[in-house]
């Protein structure tokens, strides 16, 4: 017999601020991004009932992500387009 329960919960918060420029031949976008997640993963695995093996899981976790980003598109004429972007 194997009995398994692996629940998990998490709360996530994110914030992104952008500034955009939309010119006739140039488009720019830049900004910042922040992400914060707090969660927990737990539960148990039980093999062969009370006389067997029991593994209890209890794993809190926190993930934080921060970035700066920018991207530009240049349109010198109708048939040519240059794109560049980056993230830190």
């Amino acid at each position: 017999m194997i009995e398994t329960s692996l629940p998990a919960v998490a709360r996530q918060f994110s914030e992104e601020a952008q500034i955009q420029y939309n010119g006739e031949k140039l488009r720019l976008i830049g900004g910042t991004f922040y992400f914060d997640e707090k969660g927990w993963s737990g539960g148990f695995n039980n093999v062969l009932g009370s006389a067997g093996f029991l593994t209890v899981l209890d794993e809190p976790a926190e993930n934080i992500s921060k970035s700066l980003f920018a991207e530009g598109n240049l349109f010198p004429d109708r048939q040519v387009q240059f794109d560049a972007g980056g993230t830190l």
């Binding site: 017999m1 194997i2 009995e3 398994t4 329960s5 692996l6 629940p7 998990a8 919960v9 998490a10 709360r11 996530q12 918060f13 994110s14 914030e15 992104e16 601020a17 952008q18 500034i19 955009q20 420029y21 939309n22 010119g23 900004g31 969660g39 539960g43 093999v47």
Partner: protein, 161 residues
């Protein structure tokens, strides 16, 4: 999806979706295939808009969204590749490794009680857009979500082939 104008510069949008997908790991025990999925999601959003092309434009779009999914999975995880077994004829032709089998789409298992896993996500989101001029726009996106995975606890016999 439903769009309802409420007043000048204000509108409500309600979007709903619902679907299901058959499992792609064949269950030779006669029970539902593994990795089948049912899901439903909804979003209600309001849109407030002030100004026009000749003045500063401010737009706010707060939204509430919810997502629910139910999957039938192997009791050890999402795929159970550790117990993967192909029919003998296919094993001879393709080898018996899980990655090998995954690549050729011939996944089969015998599982008497697929595990039912339920995911849920509830969140709110606010997007604010402010046009400083004809070419410069400021935008802010703020989000908060709660996610929950609650697999039901099902005693299973260890008799997979």
């Amino acid at each position: 999806m439903l769009n309802v104008p409420i007043a000048e510069g204000t509108a409500l949008r309600i979007a709903l979706t619902d679907g299901k997908r058959d499992g792609y790991v064949k269950n030779r025990a006669g029970f539902p295939d593994l990795n089948s999925e049912k899901y439903s999601a909804g979003r209600a959003s309001l849109r407030f808009e002030r100004g026009g092309p000749e003045v500063d434009l401010l737009r706010r779009c707060p939204a509430l969204q919810q997502f629910r999914r139910r999957r039938r999975i192997d009791r050890r995880g999402s795929h159970g590749f550790g117990q993967l077994r192909l029919p003998a004829r296919r094993r001879r032709r393709h080898g018996s490794g899980p990655q090998r089998a995954e690549g050729i789409g011939l996944l089969e298992r015998a599982h008497h009680q697929p595990h039912l896993c339920q995911d849920g996500r509830l969140g709110c989101l606010n997007t604010t857009t402010y046009a400083l001029s004809d070419v410069i726009t400021l935008k802010n996106i703020l989000g908060y979500r709660r996610t929950k995975t609650a697999p039901s606890s099902i005693p299973t016999t260890a008799g997979s082939s």
